[in-house]
């Protein structure tokens, strides 16, 4: 079945999303949209509701209320269509430990209806500098290599929307920079990316727009520099500043507080 796409509509629309775990409300009426060809970051302290929001978008948990639409497909009413338009890189990913990485890539390509020849699979692995590792298992790869494979699998079907949950956690600086470069290349090709991150440096480096979420609410949304400019004069932000120059981290601390979250 072909799915028509409107290239001007938001790729992802989240409206009044509520996620509850028993009596605890993790996400409270969160609304935002991700535009085509944009990298959108979701920032927040631990327990802010980032992962719950992302899990609801991924379809891993059922929200209490609200709507999530990917390219117009409601992810509750047409979950398969929504997932077909989405590529996901989970924070901790595991694949069948008995399969080689080339078999894993062919498996997920097949799930997306793509029949990858061994030659094409080898070319993909060569492109991410893992041409010699085709017969290795996923667990035998380094952290950076695993991220490269996970990203290839997430984008094997050229999805308009890619979801990434703290993609650079545990990576060394070189791997992180490489991943940023790949993300920007994906954006330039027309993919949209929604990522969750703790890292202000990452948010400033790659995100076109960010939303800061705390206690389940979105506090502010905008381009990183615009958020800094909007909030630089607030007393709590100035108080958080350490070196006189207001950074995104200062704004983040000023808006979310200095208490350590569990």
């Amino acid at each position: 079945m072909n799915m028509p796409t409107n290239q001007y509509q938001p790729v992802l629309e989240v409206e009044d999303l509520v996620v509850r775990y028993g009596s605890f409300q993790a996400v409270k009426n969160v609304s935002f949209a991700v535009q085509p060809g944009e990298i959108f970051g979701l920032l927040g302290p631990n327990g802010a509701g980032k992962t719950s929001t992302l899990s609801a978008i991924e379809g891993l948990l059922k929200p209490t209320s609200g709507s999530i639409r990917v390219l117009g497909y409601d992810n509750r009413e047409q979950p398969l269509h929504a997932r077909a338009c989405t590529g996901v890189q989970l924070q901790s990913t595991s694949f069948q430990s008995e399969l080689t990485i080339s078999e894993i890539i062919r498996l997920f390509a097949g799930i997306h209806g793509i029949d990858l020849s061994p030659e094409r699979t080898a070319a993909i692995l060569t492109d991410i500098k893992l041409g010699d590792s085709a017969s290795k298992r996923f667990g035998q790869l380094s952290g950076g290599q695993q991220q490269r494979v996970s990203l290839v699998i997430a984008t094997i079907h050229q999805p308009p929307l890619v979801l990434m949950d703290e993609p650079t956690t545990g990576l060394d600086p070189q791997s992180r920079r490489q991943l940023w470069a790949r993300m920007e290349a994906m954006r330039d090709k027309g993919h949209s990316i929604l990522l969750t991150t703790h890292s202000m440096e990452e948010a400033e480096a790659v995100c076109d727009r960010i939303a800061i979420i705390d206690y389940g609410n979105i506090i502010t949304t905008g381009a990183p520099q615009a958020i800094i400019d909007e909030n630089r004069d607030k007393p709590e932000v100035i108080a958080a500043s350490r070196r006189g120059r207001i950074t995104l981290e200062d704004v983040f601390i000023g808006l979310t507080g200095t208490d350590i979250r569990a």
């Binding site: 079945m1 072909n2 799915m3 028509p4 796409t5 290239q7 001007y8 535009q35 085509p36 060809g37 944009e38 991924e58 379809g59 891993l60 390219l71 398969l80 269509h81 997932r83 077909a84 338009c85 989405t86 996901v88 989970l90 901790s92 990913t93 595991s94 694949f95 069948q96 430990s97 008995e98 399969l99 078999e103 894993i104 062919r106 498996l107 997920f108 390509a109 097949g110 799930i111 997306h112 209806g113 079907h157 050229q158 999805p159 308009p160 920007e184 954006r187 330039d188 027309g190 948010a203 400033e204 480096a205 790659v206 995100c207 076109d208 727009r209 381009a223 990183p224 520099q225």
Partner: protein
């Protein structure tokens, strides 16, 4: 430094996204699950080896108890191993590792993920049953007519479905991997020990009767009846109904309470 928002390019041609067919999804999953099973063949061999060894060791009892008795018990042991140790443990382990979670964010319908796993176990059931028929014939000289072999083969599949549904119920109700492992080992051991001793009448009438209507007992009795010419009685038909009832209950509970992630 972040770049400014890139406006959508009017000339950009957006690719069309086609929903993959469930058949192609299932085929991809089945290929991967068969590869996984092949690479875990040592564990799979045990499911075939243990009942084969039991069958061979009972050679001296064939004259007294009959070939149908021996074969039905051993096939039931094999089905028990496949459903509990094979299926349940692999599902619990992969769920804990996050393998299912990764599959659940793809457009694979969830039923295809489980159907693929069940299909692999069904193949194991077929192989185990055929191997035991062969071992029984070659070593113990158990000879049945073709109709009985075919009938027994079909009832073995029914018995396999029972144990797979039992395994599904365990992973449905028990989220913790280690707890699930422990329960499957315990259930496996209890079924085998009680079932076998009860078969020999060593546990008394009451326990023997309970064991007769347990999942082990109904499977064994149906298999034994299928392997014996004119062996089918009213009690056997009741055992079939009880087996179907077990499958219905276990499957319902196993699907209803199953979670794709243990977190």
């Amino acid at each position: 430094m972040s770049s400014t928002l890139t406006p959508p390019l009017p000339q950009t041609k957006r690719p069309q996204y086609t929903l993959p067919s469930p058949r192609s999804v299932f085929t991809s999953l089945l290929k991967a699950d068969l590869t996984t099973q092949w690479r875990n063949r040592r564990a799979a061999m045990l499911a075939i080896l243990i009942p084969s060894v039991i069958l061979i060791s009972w050679k001296g009892l064939i004259a007294q108890f009959g070939g149908a008795f021996a074969l039905s018990n051993c096939i039931t042991v094999g089905l028990n191993a496949i459903g509990l140790m094979g299926y349940t443990n692999s599902v619990a382990r992969d769920r804990d590792k996050g393998v299912f979670q990764r599959l659940c964010v793809t457009p694979a319908p969830r039923w295809t993920i489980m159907a693929s796993r069940l299909a692999v176990q069904l193949i194991m059931i077929v192989i185990t049953t055929l191997v035991l028929f062969y071992v029984g014939y070659q070593v113990d000289h158990i000879v049945m007519n073709t109709a009985n072999y075919v009938f027994a083969f079909l009832t073995a599949i029914l018995g396999g479905a029972l144990y797979l549904s039992l395994g599904q119920m365990i992973v449905g109700l028990v989220k913790n991997q280690e707890t699930a492992f422990g329960i499957t080992r315990l259930v496996f051991f209890v079924f085998i020990m009680v079932g076998q001793f009860a078969s020999f009448g060593m546990l008394g009438v009451q326990v023997g009767s309970i064991a007769d209507w347990s999942p082990y007992g109904t499977t064994k009795n149906i298999l034994a009846a299928a392997l014996t010419p004119s062996g089918w009685t009213g009690k056997t038909s009741m055992a079939v109904l009880v087996t179907l009832g077990y499958i219905a209950v276990f499957t319902t509970l196993g699907i209803r309470y199953f979670r794709w992630s243990s977190k």
